[in-house]
Amino acid sequence: MSHRSNPVVELENVQFSWTEDKPILDIQSLSITQGEKVFIRGPSGSGKTTLLGLLGGVLTPDSGSVKVLNTNLAQLPPAQRDLHRAEHTGFIFQMFNLIPYLSVAENITLPLSFAKGRHDRVSATGRKPEQEAARLLQTLGLVDPELLSRPVTELSIGQQQRVAAARALIGSPELLIADEPTSALDTDTREAFIKLLFSECESSGSTLMFVSHDSSLEPLFDRTIVLPEINRASQQNREAV
C-alpha cells in the first residue's frame, strides 16, 4: 500500500519552552504516515499538551519544523495555522467536549462553518450536513434519530463522547487527534468506542493519534510512541530530579 508511506505528521528537531533555558519539549524526529493508528503514551507532564498545541497550530516551536500534511506550521502566520487546523484536524478531548447551548446536530456540524474544505467534502457526498451528522452518529452506535435535536446536556458521558467523535470526524479531516477520550468511560464502552473510531477512520482514510496514559489500550493500535522516550526534554528533567 503505497499511500501508507505518505507522512501526515512530521516533526524534526522541534524545541519548545515556555520560559527560556527550560525546554519542555525537545523531539528530534517523529513521523506518522497516512492511515496509521498511533497510540501515544505519556503521563502528565511529559509534554503531551504542548505536543497537541504544536500539532493544532496554537503553539509555534522555538526551533525546528512541525509539518502536518507537508505544511510546515511553524512558518505559517497565525490565521493560516488556525485555518489549517480547521480544515485538516479533528479533535476529541477528555470530557465536556461539547458546546452546551447547541443541539447534538449543531455541535457535530460546527466545524463545517469554519472549514470550507470539510463542508465541500460533505456536500460532495450528496448529503446535507445534518444528514451526515446523523449518519456518523449511527455508525458510532447512536441510532435514535431524535437524539440529533436534543440538547447535549441531556446525554450520558458515553453518548457525549460519541457526539464529540462525530464532530471530529465530519468532513473527513486527514488527521484525528484524540486526547484521553476514553478516560471518562467504563472499560466495556471504552473498547467499543475505540473500535467505532477505528472503523470510521478507516473508511475515511484518516490518521489517528490517540493520546493516553492507559497502556491497557495499547494492543489495539498499529504502533505505540512513548512520549518520554522521544522527548529529550523530559529525560533531562527527570535526570535533573
Binding site: 498545541g53 470530557m95 461539547l98 447551548y101 460546527l110
Partner: protein
C-alpha cells in the same frame, strides 16, 4: 459570519435570565434618556411657540421680560395700561394686519380672566400655526359670555351653559366678587399647551361692564350700582387695555413698528418681539432640563457598565466554550467577534426595547401630561437627535464591548486548545 451571529444568539439564549436582565437595564436607561429628551424638546417647543403667530407684543413701558411674563404667561402684573385712543391709533398703522387687545386684572378661583375680542379666535396662532378651536360651545357673542381654557374646564369641572362669578384682582384670597354680574360659559377651548389653557376669556365690553360702577378700584356703593341688565343696555366702550398682540402684514416692518411704539410720545410704551424674548426666557428656565439630560446620560452609562460587568464575569466560565470553539476551527478573531456581537445584541435589543418602553410610556402619560402640565407630547416617529442618542448608545456599548472581547481574545490565544475543568 452568520454562524458567529447565530452562535452568539444561542449562547445568550442559554444564559437568558442574566441576558434579559442586562437588556432590561439598558432598555430602562435608554427609555429614560429618550423620555427626558422628548419632554425637553416638547417643553421647549410648546414654550417657544406659544405665540408663534404674533409678531410683536405692545404694553406699558417695562422690561421686555416683564411684559412677556404678564401679557402671555399671566405672571405678575402690568405696570400700567394703554389707553383705548393710543391703541386705536397704533393699531391703524398701515403695516398692521391685525391686533388682539387683552385686558387683565380679574380672576376666577385663581385662574386669570382675560378680556379680548373676536380677533383672538380668528388670528391667534400657537404651536405649528394652529388656531384656537372649541372642544364644546362657541366664542363669546353676548356681553356676559365667557370662554374657558381646557385646564380651567377640567380642574373646575365646568360645562357649557354654567354660570360663573368673576372676582376683582388676581390675589389668591380676600377678593371681591363681581357677584352682581355673573357670566355664562359659552365655549370650552381645546387644549393648546399654552397659558391660554388656564384663562377665562371674556369680551372687552364684558370687562368694562364689570367695572362700570366701580370708582378708583373700589366697589360701588349700593345707590350707584348698575345692574347687569342696565349695563347690557348701555353702549359700552373700553377705556383702556393691558396690552395687545400685533400681527404684521410683513415681518420686515417689525423693527420699524417696534421703534414707532417705543418712541410714541403721548404714552410710555414698550414693544417686544416675542420669539426673541421667549428664547431669552428659555435660556433661564431651560438649564434644569439640560441637567436632567446629563443625568439620564449618566444612567445610560451605568446601564452599559452593568452590561460590561455581566459580560466580563461570564468570561471565566466561558473559557471552556472558547477552547472548544478554537478546537473546531474558530480563529481568535471569531472569538473576538463573538464577544463584540454579544455586546451589540445587548445594545440593539436594549435600545429597541427602550424605544418600545418610551412609546408605551408616552401612551400612558400623554393624557396626564396634557391635563396636568398642559404639555402635549406627540407620539411621533423618533427625531434626528433621538436617533443620534440611540446610535450613541449602541456605539458606546460597542466601544465598551471591546474590553471583554479583547480579554476573550487574549485568553483564547493563551489557552489554545487546553480545556480547564
Amino acid at each position: 459570519m452568520t454562524s458567529i451571529w447565530s452562535l452568539s444568539l444561542k449562547s445568550l439564549k442559554n444564559r437568558r435570565i442574566s441576558a434579559l436582565l442586562t437588556i432590561l437595564s439598558i432598555a430602562v436607561s435608554v427609555a429614560l434618556l429618550l423620555g427626558v429628551e422628548r419632554i425637553r424638546v416638547e417643553a421647549k417647543n410648546s414654550f417657544t411657540s406659544s405665540l408663534s403667530g404674533t409678531d410683536l407684543i405692545v404694553g406699558a413701558r417695562s422690561s421686555p421680560l416683564n411684559l412677556l411674563l404678564y401679557s402671555s404667561f399671566h405672571i405678575g402684573n402690568a405696570t400700567n395700561n394703554i389707553t383705548w385712543e393710543t391703541y386705536q391709533e397704533l393699531a391703524s398703522d398701515p403695516a398692521v394686519a391685525w391686533t388682539i387687545p387683552i385686558a387683565l386684572g380679574d380672576s376666577h378661583r385663581e385662574f386669570r380672566v382675560m378680556g379680548s375680542n373676536q380677533t383672538l379666535f380668528k388670528e391667534f396662532r400657537y404651536g405649528d400655526e394652529q388656531s384656537l378651536s372649541f372642544k364644546d360651545g362657541a366664542a363669546f357673542s353676548k356681553l356676559y359670555d365667557a370662554v374657558i381654557g381646557s385646564t380651567v374646564a377640567q380642574q373646575l369641572g365646568y360645562t357649557v351653559g354654567q354660570k360663573v362669578i368673576l372676582s376683582h384682582g388676581v390675589e389668591s384670597s380676600g377678593l371681591q366678587d363681581h357677584d352682581d354680574k355673573p357670566f355664562q360659559i359659552s365655549g370650552i377651548l381645546e387644549p393648546t399647551g399654552t397659558p391660554l389653557d388656564k384663562v377665562i376669556l371674556v369680551s372687552l365690553e364684558g370687562i368694562e361692564a364689570l367695572h362700570i360702577d366701580w370708582r378708583n378700584g373700589a366697589p360701588p356703593i349700593a345707590a350707584f350700582s348698575v345692574s347687569a341688565e342696565k349695563a347690557a343696555a348701555m353702549q359700552l366702550k373700553p377705556e383702556s387695555i393691558t396690552a395687545y398682540y400685533v400681527g404684521l402684514k410683513s415681518r420686515i416692518a417689525a423693527f420699524r413698528y417696534q421703534r414707532k411704539v417705543n418712541d410714541f410720545k403721548q404714552e410710555a410704551l414698550t414693544a417686544i418681539l416675542p420669539g426673541v424674548a421667549l428664547q431669552e426666557l428659555w435660556q433661564l428656565v431651560g438649564s434644569a432640563e439640560k441637567a436632567l439630560l446629563v443625568i439620564s446620560i449618566m444612567v445610560v452609562l451605568a446601564g452599559l457598565t452593568g452590561m460590561l460587568t455581566t459580560i466580563l464575569s461570564s468570561l471565566n466560565e466561558r473559557r471552556r466554550e472558547m477552547a472548544i470553539l478554537r478546537s473546531v476551527g474558530a480563529r481568535p478573531v471569531h472569538i473576538f467577534s463573538l464577544m463584540i456581537i454579544e455586546s451589540l445584541i445587548y445594545a440593539i435589543a436594549g435600545t429597541l426595547l427602550g424605544f418600545a418602553m418610551l412609546y408605551g410610556l408616552l401612551l400612558l402619560i400623554q393624557p396626564i401630561a396634557q391635563s396636568a402640565l398642559g404639555l402635549y407630547l406627540p407620539i411621533s416617529t423618533p427625531g434626528i437627535f433621538e436617533l443620534y442618542l440611540a446610535s450613541g448608545v449602541i456605539g458606546c456599548s460597542l466601544l465598551l464591548g471591546v474590553i471583554p472581547a479583547w480579554r476573550a481574545y487574549k485568553n483564547s490565544l493563551a489557552d489554545g486548545l487546553t480545556i480547564r475543568i
